[in-house]
């Protein structure tokens, strides 16, 4: 990988306010959701470790979502503003451009994931302490929450970048990511209990959103160990990058 392309991509990511605005929106959303959970749930329910993990782990889902959005924007933004043309004129080896975007997107995703997990733990811990709840999470829980959320957001940023190279258009990509993570995997699979139906659970535990959840130690514990979940998610990231590479290599740039 080329050092100068990496530096160029870092400057691209730093030189507009897009990422700062995304970060602000993410932290605000997490603070709101965690605070509402921490304040609303009855104190006796909050006493259990499982309930506390749910409250303090709210940063995981939002972190994954914003990681994916960040990655998707890094390439669809170039198509939207036309900067993809000078980018490819200066670096016609398009695979290199995409690889660097995947790597830099993943690094920013990891940072977003760490901040998301830390924000949820901070706000959640404060909300519970305010209500006199004694926290029963240990160091391992916190470590897994931070590391798993960071890995999940980083790998989802890579997935978002790869898919962005295929879809190119910002709005459908972002809507697609939201529908997949919030509706298909969360609502249908988790909340409406699709995963309890025999056969579907076997597929469901290998879905990329579920893997991000397992990576942070927030799953059903029976599905996959966090390490295996990260590996599984990495396979998705590599596959998305490969599909993105095939799409961007051959297709004309408008």
């Amino acid at each position: 990988m080329s050092w100068r392309l990496l530096r160029a991509e870092f400057l691209k990511q730093r030189s507009t306010r897009t990422n700062l605005e995304l970060l602000g929106a993410m932290v605000g959303l997490i603070a709101l959701i965690v605070y509402v959970h921490g304040v609303q749930l009855p104190v006796e329910r909050l006493a259990t470790r499982t309930a506390q993990l749910i409250v303090l782990g709210q940063g995981r889902m939002i972190g994954t979502l914003f990681g994916a959005i960040l990655g998707g924007l890094s390439i669809t933004g170039e198509f939207r503003h036309g900067t993809i043309r000078p980018t490819f004129v200066v670096t016609p080896k398009r695979g290199r451009v995409l690889l660097v975007k995947v790597v830099v997107g993943a690094l920013f995703g990891v940072a977003f994931g760490l901040i998301a997990a830390a924000a949820a733990v901070g706000v959640g811990g404060a909300a519970l302490a305010q209500r006199g709840v004694v926290l029963s999470l240990d160091g391992n829980d916190y470590a897994l929450l931070l590391a798993g959320t960071a890995a999940g957001a980083g790998l989802w940023a890579a997935i978002g970048t790869g898919l962005g190279a295929v879809v190119r258009n910002q709005v459908p990509l972002l809507i697609g990511i939201c529908i997949w993570l919030l509706f298909v995997e969360s609502l249908l699979f988790e909340d409406l209990g699709l995963k309890k139906i025999a056969g579907i659970s076997d597929i469901g535990r290998f879905l990329p959103g579920t893997l991000a959840k397992e990576a942070a130690g927030l799953g059903d514990q029976t599905l996959l160990a966090p390490g295996a979940a990260v590996l599984g998610l990495a396979v998705y990231a590599v596959a998305a990058a490969a599909i993105g590479w095939m799409a961007i290599r051959a297709r004309d740039v408008p």
């Binding site: 100068r4 400057l11 503003h81 043309r85 004129v89 740039v253």
Partner: protein, 251 residues
């Protein structure tokens, strides 16, 4: 096709051509945007690429720059396809459209990103900012720039790698008379030092004063190629020729 066209269609088989387009064709479904196009550009020349909107000018430029793949034929720069060039920014500079910039990024950062990718120094970024009279506004976001300022930023970006070939799509668009004068003298100097320029335009007057030769393209085909000196010798204006070939083809 007119008699002039038959005599003066440029031959693609010259040896040291910087650009060589051979039987270039681009189809989008049933639409043929570029149709069996052939021409070549010699070092030290400025060539105007003229034609009405939709004639295939931009598609040809995009194929030369590796952004679009030909359906058939070849679009070669410096002896090969653009995408196979090593360090392309040091050989070719291009301005395609006016808005190939992020409005929320400063002019200087726009150039620094391209400079980093091209392996060009920060000092060169400041030089091209100065060249485009943009030093004073380099910190400002591109979104606050006027049309002419964005145009000059695009040109500054094309010059970053100190290229030998410039490919410019409608470069005079949005430039005020002073900017236009600057561009003309800049391109003349560039060509006199051995550089090669291909400018697409539909503003005939602007082209007539700048270029050595014109290629007129219509329906994806070159209908005329003629030197500006030749025109003067015949007592014709560029407008005469342009109107005659475009109306002949259209009828």
């Amino acid at each position: 096709m007119s008699a002039i066209a038959d005599q003066t269609i440029p031959h693609p088989a010259t040896s040291n051509a910087v650009v060589r387009v051979t039987s270039l064709t681009k189809r989008y479904g049933s639409l043929t945007a570029v149709d069996d196009l052939s021409f070549s550009l010699e070092p030290g020349t400025i060539t105007g690429f003229l034609g009405p909107n939709g004639a295939g000018k931009s598609t040809t430029l995009r194929m030369l720059l590796g952004l679009a793949e030909p359906t058939s034929g070849e679009a070669h720069v410096f002896g090969g396809p653009y995408r196979q060039l090593d360090e392309p920014a040091r050989r070719v500079g291009a301005v395609l459209e006016n808005n190939d910039m992020h409005p929320g990024r400063s002019g200087r950062n726009h150039l620094r990103i391209l400079a980093l990718a091209a392996g060009v120094s920060k000092r060169r970024v400041e030089e091209v900012l100065e060249l485009g009279s943009l030093t004073g506004v380099a910190k400002r976001l591109v979104g606050t720039y006027s049309f002419g300022m964005r145009r000059r930023l695009g040109l500054a970006a094309a010059l970053l790698g100190d290229p030998q070939l410039l490919i410019l799509d409608e470069p005079g668009n949005g430039l005020d008379p002073k900017g236009m004068h600057w561009l003309r003298s800049f391109l003349r100097r560039f060509a006199d030092e051995g550089g090669t320029v291909l400018i697409s335009s539909h503003v005939l007057a602007e082209v007539a004063q700048t270029v050595d030769r014109v290629l007129i393209i219509l329906g994806g085909r070159i209908v005329t190629g003629i030197g500006i000196g030749e025109l003067a010798a015949r007592g014709q204006t560029l407008e005469d020729v342009y109107l005659s070939v475009t109306s002949t083809e259209a009828s």
